[in-house]
Amino acid sequence: MTAESVLKSPKNLKRRKIMNSVMISLCIAAGFITIVPLIYIFFYTTQSGISSLNLDFFTQLPKPVGEEGGGMANAIVGSLILITIGGIIGIPVGVLSGIYISEYSKNVLSTIVKFITDILSGVPSIIIGIFAYGVIVIPMQRFSALAGGFALGILMIPTVAKITEEMLRLVPQSLREASLALGVSRWKTTLRVVLTTASSGIVTGILLAIARAAGETAPLLFTSFGNVYWQTNIDEPMAALPLQIFTYAISPFDDWHRQAWAGAFVLIFLVFIVNLLVRFVTRNKFSGNL
């Protein structure tokens, strides 16, 4: 068949048009399958959670079984503390390893770092919990927020490192050269030119890592452990929203189920707020070039 006859053939054209519509339909269907669970989770959580939400939920401690009311104030604060500790460990280590892999990636060590980062991102979070248990809980002889935060921090490292590396690689080489040609040292170039140019992408990566860490339950089970009392000392076991939700959801009490929904809603909302806040603080009027 010559090229001309292919173009003219009405039969072939019809077949191609059908194929085209089939493929487009498949794409749209796949898109829906992606969106539906998210929307469903969001609405269902809001619907079930918001009705149990009241001021007490944010200000009160959990009540003993049988007593109505109570809240998750300790778990909300606990989650914030755990994420902060996790961030303090995970973000600098992640960003710096990302910089190392991307900017100084010409030796054996950085290849090893890159390889290990990739593997670390595939380690189940409960294993990371066990690791934190081994290196912090056992020597300290007790569960603590520190161990929980440490586990979350380790969990954040690969995500942050990977995205930092990818974003830095997107920065054109010509900008590095422009800076160096002005007599700016290598580390200042990396910090003030390369990192700044990639900052919006890196912030997105950090937020993603925070959001993931905020929702993690498994690594906290035997590190932070949970606590029904008020506790802000990072040396001690501390409540966390996902833990509290988990405990309440598997309980046989309707009241606790309602509170678990409220907790889930607050957790989603919290992540959302952190997202907005960080974006607002780190906004740059010239960013978005990448």
Binding site: E177, A181, L182, G183, F286
Partner: protein
């Protein structure tokens, strides 16, 4: 090409007498400069003397080592792990191995092929980027430097009302002049230009060429160009590179009217390239 040569004959200012040539100082001298990328030859045994306060053009077909030579002059090959540099480079008589690369690059600025202003910075911040990144923060001084250098690079009138807007909002030609302003604001002695107009339209190109001519009194300029007419228009001396070797290096006028080498003649008359 005959038109071109006639034009050059007319330009009396390009003509430099032998005497003044001898008197003018050497800004850059290379001795047996070679650069290899892995085993591949970039340039080999380049011996060249670039005169102070002159514009030196480097011409040659693609891949002949023009940019490689230029980039070795401010140690840019340090950034390329595979590159190996041999031979010696003297800047104003001083061997560059005596400087650390950061200080050396303050003396030898560079303008790149594609305009590359810092996208996260404003026009204002771009001009003083080199100073600011090195810790200079005094606003009154910086204001002055911005105005002076933007005027020097002929951009002031066009951007004085939007110093705070993003540098990337300027046109390509304006961005390139901004990059030149950025380069001269750190007060270099030598400016290397790597095909600075190849991404620009003819009007922007002529503005840049005019600027190069004006900068000559304060700086030594080495310009790599694909465009032979440009070399003829802006430069005092021209070096012809071919396959990593320096074929001929002489006064621009002689180079385009009466080259010594057959290869040069064939190239400048457009027989290959």
């Amino acid at each position: 090409m005959t038109e071109e040569t006639e034009e050059i004959e007319d330009k009396e200012e390009i003509e430099i007498s032998e005497e003044s040539d001898k008197e003018s100082k050497i800004a850059i001298q290379t001795i047996d400069l070679s650069v290899y990328f892995d085993e591949r030859k970039g340039i080999e045994n380049i011996n060249m003397k670039v005169r102070k306060n002159r514009v030196t053009a480097i011409i040659g077909p693609s891949g002949c080592g023009k940019s490689t030579f230029l980039r070795s002059l401010n140690l840019m090959h340090d950034m390329t792990p595979k590159a190996r540099v041999f031979g010696e480079i003297f800047i104003h008589g001083e061997n560059i191995t005596n400087y650390n690369s950061v200080d050396m690059r303050k003396k030898v600025g560079m303008v790149f092929q594609k305009p590359n202003p810092f996208p996260t910075m404003s026009v204002y911040d771009n001009v003083i980027a080199g100073l600011k990144l090195n810790g200079m923060t005094k606003k009154s001084i910086l204001d002055e430097i911005v105005e002076k250098n933007l005027k020097h690079s002929g951009l002031w009138e066009e951007v004085k009302d939007r110093l705070k807007s993003p540098a990337v909002s300027l046109s390509g030609g304006q961005q390139q002049r901004l990059c030149i302003a950025r380069t001269i604001s750190v007060n270099p002695e030598i400016i290397l230009m790597d095909e600075p107009t190849s991404a620009l339209d003819p009007i922007s190109t002529s503005k840049i060429e005019e600027l190069i001519f004006n900068l000559k009194s304060d700086y030594t300029i080495v310009i790599v160009t694909h465009n032979m007419q440009q070399a003829a228009r802006v430069s005092d001396q021209t070096a012809f590179f071919y396959l990593g070797n320096l074929i001929e290096f002489s006064k621009t006028r002689r180079m385009f009217t009466n080259p010594k080498e057959k290869l040069t003649e064939e190239y400048v008359t457009g027989k290959f390239g």
